[in-house]
């Protein structure tokens, strides 16, 4: 399947890798199907590209690369998704990056709303973390 993406132009995606977010993403309730695209030039960032809306994409990354002590409780979301806690090794946490300002020093990560992806089931959910004092605009470089 081919997508004409806003960020990276035309890309071919493997339909078996489509991740379903049954609850959508707040702000984009209709966007439920995404793929994770990797591009050598921007690693360790990835593009979380909507399959249904070619113009919709987020930049995501592994939060532990800049916040080693990041710690969120995923258990209630695991149960909400009808996954089991035994599947935790198939689950990966990503955070959405805000790169609206091209200056990396102003680039932020949303630690309040990480994505939890179950790669075996190809399903995901955006968590809401309100009890840890994490910011929705956490600077990746520099002091917060």
């Amino acid at each position: 399947m081919e997508l004409n993406t806003r960020q990276f132009g035309p890309v071919t995606i493997d339909e078996r890798k489509i991740i379903t977010l049954p609850k959508g993403i707040p702000g984009f309730a209709d966007a439920k199907k995404f793929v994770i695209l990797d591009h050598d030039d921007i690693q360790p960032f990835y593009s979380f590209q909507s399959v249904e809306d070619e113009k919709l994409a987020f930049i995501i990354m592994d939060p532990y690369l800049f916040k080693g002590d990041y710690n969120v409780d995923v258990d209630s979301s695991v149960l909400e998704m009808n996954w089991t806690l035994e599947e935790k090794e198939d689950m990966f946490l990503y955070v959405i990056i805000n790169a609206t300002d091209p200056d990396p020093k102003k680039m932020t990560a949303n630690l309040m709303g990480p994505l939890l992806i179950n790669i075996k089931r190809n399903e995901g959910i955006q968590l809401m973390v309100g009890d840890k004092g994490y910011s929705n605009k956490h600077l990746i470089f520099g002091k917060n």
Binding site: G27, I42, L65, S77, N98, P102, N110, G130, N136
Partner: protein, 85 residues
């Protein structure tokens, strides 16, 4: 919307599994305790709103700054490895 008046110590049940306890009322604040099964998501509305508004903003982001940021992160990683050795 259903509107109920409750005193400190009183409870509202929602369905069979959810109970809202009024713990304390003072100076314009109400302290609430919630009993609910673990799969039910409970959060302050402003958390949801912040995540939502941040999603909308982040979706506008370009990729031009990412190349530089990716380089900065890679250097940080290499430096980390070097420090360990």
């Amino acid at each position: 919307m259903l509107i109920l008046s409750r005193k400190t110590g009183e409870v509202i049940k929602i369905g069979d599994d959810v109970a809202i306890h009024v713990i304390e009322i003072s100076k314009g604040f109400v302290k609430i305790g919630i009993d609910a099964p673990e799969h039910i998501k409970i959060l302050r509305e402003e958390v949801y709103e912040r995540v939502k508004s941040e999603n909308i903003e982040a979706a506008q982001g370009g990729v031009s700054g990412l190349f530089k940021a990716a380089g900065m992160l890679k250097r940080k990683e290499e430096k980390g490895v070097a420090n360990k050795e």
